[in-house]
């Protein structure tokens, strides 16, 4: 990479470096957040369409709209519930693995 930077402008000051670093980090964070939200919206759309629009008509009926509104709330709730449960389980397993590795033969028990 060094050959590319040859002839580039003077090195950044520490403050500029810090600023650029934070720029990159924020960019990455926001891209990940957007991707996550898009995925959630796509999945929600699929699931709630299947659940609520059983027989597509000329337009969305009020009851279909009500169903979609409830469904999106429920899907988000399910996502949060599952996220919490999954993270808790992974944490427990990791702890058990660490204990097993540290102590004697606790393998397979958690």
């Amino acid at each position: 990479m060094s050959f590319l930077s040859r002839g580039s402008s003077t090195p950044l000051t520490p403050a500029e470096t810090q600023q650029r670093k934070e720029q990159v980090m924020n960019e990455v964070r926001s891209q990940l957040a957007v991707a996550n939200a898009q995925e959630l919206i796509n999945k929600m759309g699929d699931k709630c369409f299947v659940k609520c629009i059983t027989k597509p008509g000329d337009s969305l009926s009020p009851s279909e709209e009500g169903c979609i509104a409830r469904c999106t709330e429920r899907y988000l709730e399910a996502f949060n519930v599952i996220s919490k449960q999954y993270v808790a389980r992974v944490g427990r397993e990791r702890e058990a693995a660490a204990t097993a590795a540290g102590g004697l033969g606790g393998e397979g028990l958690n």
Partner: protein, 89 residues
């Protein structure tokens, strides 16, 4: 996002900062993978557990099913690996 500009930006950063950013991006990728797993699991468990019409809140059995779904899925993959190892050995 103009690529050339970003490249210049990265090149001007000192090595320590570049390393720090690399570590940061790795962590974010791990986070992204975790999120992807949770999306998959939510989709799967939704199909399994939310079988009746959508109410204002989950029924007790739906809520329990969602929680069990996560744990049984993980048990399944653990058991599967164990079973395959035993069969092989």
């Amino acid at each position: 996002m103009s690529a050339p500009q970003q490249q210049t930006g990265a090149e001007q950063l000192d090595l320590a900062t570049q390393r720090e950013l690399a570590t940061f991006i790795e962590q974010e990728q791990t986070k992204a993978k975790l999120q992807a797993t949770i999306h998959d699991m939510t989709s799967m468990c939704w199909d399994k557990c939310v079988t009746s019409s959508i109410g204002a809140r989950f029924s007790k059995s739906e809520g329990t099913c969602l929680l069990n779904c996560v744990d049984r899925f993980l048990d399944t993959s653990k058991y599967l690996v164990k079973h395959l190892e035993e069969r092989r050995g």
